[in-house]
């Protein structure tokens, strides 16, 4: 579904993502692991079209999207829940969700289904999102992305700043997405949770992919070593 080849993303001279390649098939649930500054968010934002790509290619459903705008990628079914939620905080929950349906793709998601998936939002429907709790904001951000009926959903640090209880709620509601066959790529700091949720794990270090395996074929120890770059020898062959 998504094919990333030899992707380079830069901030000025700084190469935040270097020569990253990966293939994500339909129905895959992939978690992206890595320390702060490893380039995870940069990669996700570049895939979603929020950052320009310096070199390399992006294919989505066999179509070249390397230089297309973020809105056209949403139109094609690729949707990002950005880090820090980035809600339109002077608008209500309902307005944020309605904005999500700007591209009008057909599918099962509509505003009522969002409210039944995230029941905590129901009574906040007409509240400004700037006044919501972290969990409610995160639910709105996910709901907003779902409103475009994406085939491929990217989630950047959805549990950041949330209490464990709320994180559980968020992941519970995402299980239903998984069951519906939505392809998911997510960044998650909590390794155990990531391994439990995903079928595949990709680990990044200093802008490169250092590990890319089915979650069932790897273990916590191997991922931890890749995370800290202790596995220098395997780095070359994997990337």
């Amino acid at each position: 579904m998504l094919s990333v080849s030899n992707l380079d993303v830069r901030y000025g001279q700084f190469r935040a993502v270097q020569g990253v390649s990966m293939e994500i098939a339909k129905g895959d649930v992939v978690s992206l692991i890595g320390a702060n500054g490893a380039g995870k968010s940069t990669l996700l934002r570049a895939i979603a079209g929020a950052l320009p790509i310096h070199s390399g290619r992006l294919l989505f459903k066999q179509q070249e999207i390397t230089n297309t705008s973020s809105s056209s990628r949403v139109q094609q079914g690729l949707s990002l829940v950005p880090e820090g939620r980035r809600l339109f905080s002077d608008m209500t929950v309902e307005e944020n969700l309605l904005l999500g349906s700007t591209v009008k793709r057909s599918g099962d998601w509509n505003i009522e289904r969002i409210f039944s998936t995230f029941p905590n939002l129901v009574k906040r429907r007409h509240a400004k999102t700037g006044n919501l709790s972290g969990g409610e904001q995160q639910a709105t951000a996910i709901g907003r992305a779902l409103m475009s009926n994406p085939d491929f959903l990217i989630l950047d640090e959805v549990s950041l700043g949330l209490s464990p209880l709320v994180v559980n709620q968020v992941y519970d509601s995402m299980e239903s997405l998984k069951d519906a066959g939505t392809t998911i790529l997510l960044v998650e700091q909590d390794l155990e949770r990531a391994m439990r949720f995903s079928k595949r794990t990709i680990c990044m270090l200093e802008g490169r992919v250092v590990l890319d395996k089915l979650t069932s074929d790897t273990n916590k120890e191997e991922i931890t070593q890749a995370y800290f770059g202790l596995h220098q020898s395997s780095k070359q062959e994997v990337s």
Partner: protein, 301 residues
């Protein structure tokens, strides 16, 4: 005294009308269009031409130029502003200033140095007045004031309650995230420019109805629009409406103090508000706040 206050409020209606397009574009695209005044004068000439050639009422002619100005707005965005904004925040200032010079001088070339007015095409309406509590209030200025309220109110309703308005607000608030949600920033910018130019068309007509204009009248209109926007606070269109009225009142006070004090009164009021904004409410005014937010987002990404 009472009379000049009423006249000032009516004049303020015109300033609000000419300012709302400038403020709207600034809010949505973060561009101050220096050709704003010149485009208003261009529309005034267009209305004058159509009115004169087809023997129509100016109120009908303005409806005909609305789509023309909307297309000009779209072209302005697509051909000039889109390119200029990619080069940083200084280029739009330079290019729109260059555009203003081009428009002003083309108008001069075409229409010469004589001043024009739309009021001769209005018949009795140009001098008819209402008598209220002993004050004579011209019908025409009242129509302009009401138009300002309708235009600003209409824009406000569009922004608040329509999908398009939501998308415009989202783009103004955070263009990157708006793109991630599926909003086509390019389309929104084009539509916003078109809307702004339609208000410009109306304000140019209002200028021609209320008084006279000539090819080089664009500069002063830009300054009035800018002053009203700054006084009103640029963050809400109703603020801009108020800004227009305050500007006009300040000009009247200036004129009371000194026979040449009309413009100075307005300018000084502008400076007072500028000071106040810089020292008390800097964030909103300089948009540092907004830029800081954007930059932070990019760095942590």
């Amino acid at each position: 005294m009472m009379n000049s206050l009423v006249q000032a409020i009516l004049l303020g209606g015109y300033y609000a009308l000419v300012a709302c397009g400038l403020a709207f574009m600034f809010q949505v695209m973060r561009i101050i269009n220096l050709a704003h005044g010149s485009l208003a004068i261009l529309s005034a000439y267009l209305v004058w031409e159509i009115t004169d050639a087809l023997a129509l009422s100016p109120f009908v002619s303005v409806l005909m130029i609305l789509p023309i100005m909307a297309i000009i707005g779209l072209l302005l965005q697509r051909v000039i502003l889109e390119r200029a904004t990619k080069g940083g925040e200084l280029l739009p200032v330079l290019t729109t200033f260059g555009l203003a010079i081009v428009i002003d001088n083309l108008l001069f070339q075409q229409f010469g140095a004589n001043t024009r007015s739309l009021s001769p095409y209005l018949g009795d309406l140009s001098w008819e007045s209402y008598e209220i509590f002993g004050l004579w209030i011209g019908k025409l200025p009242v129509i302009v004031l009401i138009t300002a309220i309708v235009v600003i109110g209409g824009l406000d309703l569009i922004l608040r309650f329509t999908p398009l308005g939501r998308q415009i607000r989202a783009t103004a608030f955070d263009p990157d995230t708006a793109g991630l949600v599926g909003i086509d920033a390019r389309k929104i910018a084009g539509i916003s420019a078109a809307i702004a130019m339609m208000t410009v068309a109306i304000s140019g007509t209002a200028l021609g109805l209320r008084g006279t204009f000539d090819a080089y009248a664009g500069g002063p209109q830009l300054l009035f629009a800018f002053e009203a926007t700054i006084i009103g606070g640029a963050s809400s269109l109703w603020g801009v409406f108020l800004g227009g009225i305050i500007l006009a009142i300040a000009q009247s006070i200036g004129a009371l103090i000194h026979p040449q004090g009309f413009l100075l009164g307005g300018h000084f009021m502008f400076l007072i508000f500028l000071f106040a904004r810089i020292y008390f409410n800097r964030d909103v005014f300089t948009l540092k706040h907004w830029f800081a937010k954007r930059n932070k987002g990019e760095i942590t990404a």
